[in-house]
């Protein structure tokens, strides 16, 4: 049914249609509306049988999800930013134990400086945790990916994060087609766990493993993600059959056929990228887009195939590997190694910095002329950066950086719109 609905509310409805049996949650912006929505549905009896557990921290949220999933219950939680970091030890355990938990990450920057706005630093910090990570471009895709995620997780007995841009998607009202219970039931079978704790047939889950077997267990986690590379496109095809729309898959291209310059990105910024590319195409520029939906597993083969015929590419990413450059860009470059393709990294949108069409126009044209630095910081205020660097050269006791920069910026930014 078509609805004009907030992204978080739409995801809450989609998760409820997947019949989770345990939801444990701790509030953190910008994820809160999702679990609030689910909490209301459990309380009203709309979502039953389901236990909604208020926990005392994110660490407890993931620990409870591990327990309930190990007991054979379909388990769900959601978090963001510092919340995800606080649960990290349990995040790795969930993957190491092979428990098919589904978690929404409403992507948000990591402090310090504390910042509630969107970028991809939080879930990308967990790229090696063993969790799969799928990135939604729109709220429709966020809805659809959750439905696919439960199936994917349970088929492989591995956990998965569905990543959606905090605020930009979670707090946006837009048109979303919410499927019926019958449609979802026809796609997603009841949870049939590969392992479960049952007092009648006692087993243990979580043995200590020494050097004799640790590598094999870890390798199998990798092998499962390699299986996911096969399974994700298959589940997207089945999804299309059942729901009638394209959603999910590993990667998606746009106007890429004869493109000489390709823009690679993940998440909601793809919309602004596509609008910019349309305008540049009208002016005769041969430019196209590669959207990455599956960040983990990373689809090396598909990324290579999508880029191999272009002349150059830009990875536009909302993340920064401090001391290195791009995070997604590193994987993309690995995918095209040996092709001799020219690749650029563009870091944009950190901590919620707006990514505008005007900035993208400039960036893409510079990329086309191969005038970009290997790593570009889009819309970075160099005056402010240089002023602070100079301050540090002049004064041994130059003080805290964030406070200095806020002082230098004055209230000029906030004075515009508050």
């Amino acid at each position: 049914m078509l609805k004009q609905i907030e992204g978080s509310k739409a995801v809450a409805e989609a998760v409820a249609l997947c019949r989770p049996e345990v939801i444990c949650a701790y509030p953190i912006s910008p994820q809160t509306h999702i679990v609030e929505g689910l909490g209301e549905m459990v309380k009203s009896g709309e979502l039953t049988p389901c236990e909604f557990i208020n926990v005392e921290s994110e660490f407890a949220a993931m620990s409870v999800a591990i327990g309930s999933s190990a007991a054979g219950a379909r388990s769900y939680t959601a978090t963001a930013s510092q919340g995800l970091l606080f649960m990290v030890e349990a995040v790795y355990n969930a993957a190491g134990l092979g428990l098919p938990i589904v978690m929404t990450v409403a992507n948000r920057a990591i402090g310090a400086p504390i910042n509630i706005w969107n970028d991809h630093s939080d879930s990308l910090s967990q790229r090696d945790s063993g969790w799969m990570q799928l990135f939604a471009e729109t709220n429709q895709e966020a809805v659809d990916l959750h439905i696919q995620a439960f199936k994917l997780a349970e088929e492989l007995s591995m956990p998965i994060m569905v990543c959606m841009d905090g605020f930009i998607l979670t707090h946006a009202f837009e048109r979303v087609d919410i499927p019926t219970q019958e449609q979802v039931d026809g796609y997603l079978p009841p949870f049939d766990p590969r392992q479960s704790l049952d007092p009648k047939e006692p087993i243990s889950i979580g043995a200590m493993v020494g050097p004799e077997a640790f590598m094999e267990v870890k390798y199998l986690a990798h092998a499962k993600q390699m299986q996911a590379l096969e399974l994700i496109p298959q589940l997207a095809a089945e999804f299309k059959q059942q729901f009638g729309r394209d959603s999910g898959g590993l990667v998606r291209t746009y106007r890429a056929d004869d493109a000489e310059t390709m823009i690679v990105a993940m998440g909601s910024v793809l919309g602004t990228v596509k609008d910019t590319v349309d305008e540049l195409r009208e002016q005769g520029h041969k430019i196209g887009v590669l959207g990455i939906i599956s960040y983990r597993p990373f689809p090396l083969k598909e990324v290579r195939a999508a880029l191999v015929n272009c002349k150059r590419f830009v990875v536009l990413e909302k993340s920064l590997a401090v001391g290195m450059g791009g995070i997604v860009a590193t994987d993309v470059r690995m995918a095209v190694s040996g092709t001799g393709l020219k690749g650029f990294t563009a870091i944009a949108g950190l901590g919620g910095r707006n990514i505008t069409k005007a900035s993208l126009h400039k960036l893409f044209l510079e990329a086309e002329q191969e005038k970009l630095e290997p790593v570009t910081f889009v819309d970075l205020d160099w005056d402010v950066v240089n002023k602070q660097l100079e301050r540090e050269r002049q004064n041994r006791h130059s003080g805290p950086i964030a406070e200095n920069i806020l002082f230098d910026k004055g209230m000029s930014t906030s004075a515009k719109f508050g």
């Binding site: 004009q4 707090h171 009202f173 837009e174 919309g271 707006n354 719109f417 508050g418």
Partner: protein, 193 residues
């Protein structure tokens, strides 16, 4: 694409206003995207929210920097921030005030832009009268429907019924209906002036 920017203060239902505008547009079969400016909202602090309308899917995710229409929920913002920033030359302006633009010192702006797309509306008073709270958002949405002709009043009523129920919905519908009539009347008077 038609882009609306709503300015107000925390507690005035700015974000709700854009959400309801998007619902009204959806009720008329259009694509709509509403989103807030994502600040750490506090009661009384300046807040801005956005609504885009189009006949096709809206993919753009940047904030609205060159709006086709402005709804200003609090006239005191005029002294604090540049609410008119980027407004298109033929853009609509709907301001919450019981006074005219001339009375609050914006006579020059009206001279530049002309009367046809500018209107003030005592929205806070309408909220107090019909809902018992000084929340101007619903009267302003209905007033904007009248000013721009972009929505039918009945679509605004549908959006109200989706958001509220019982007495609150009824009060808001009464406020919206009066706001719509007030703006229509102003526009007709000007057309004949």
């Amino acid at each position: 694409m038609f882009q609306i920017r709503v300015h107000g203060r925390g507690g005035q239902g700015v974000v709700t206003a854009t959400e309801m505008l998007s619902v009204a547009a959806f009720e008329e079969g259009r694509h709509a995207q509403a989103f807030p400016s994502f600040g750490s909202e506090r009661t009384g602090a300046p807040v801005v929210a956005f609504c885009r309308l189009d006949d096709k899917e809206i993919r753009l995710r940047e904030p609205i920097m060159e709006p086709d229409a402005l709804i200003i929920q609090d006239p005191t913002l005029l002294h604090q921030i540049d609410v008119f920033s980027g407004l298109k030359p033929d853009g609509y302006v709907l301001l919450n005030s019981a006074h005219s633009f001339e009375q609050i010192g914006l006579g020059e702006l009206v001279k530049q832009r002309g009367h046809a797309r500018m209107c003030t509306l005592p929205a806070t008073e309408l909220g107090l009268k019909h809902v018992g709270r000084p929340i101007p958002n619903v009267p302003l949405i209905a007033g904007f429907a009248a000013l721009s002709g972009m929505f039918k009043l009945e679509s605004v009523v549908k959006a109200i019924n989706e958001k509220f129920s019982g007495k609150v919905a009824a009060g808001n519908i009464a406020a919206a209906t009066e706001a719509y009539a007030l703006v229509k009347k102003q526009m007709e008077e000007r057309a004949h002036a």
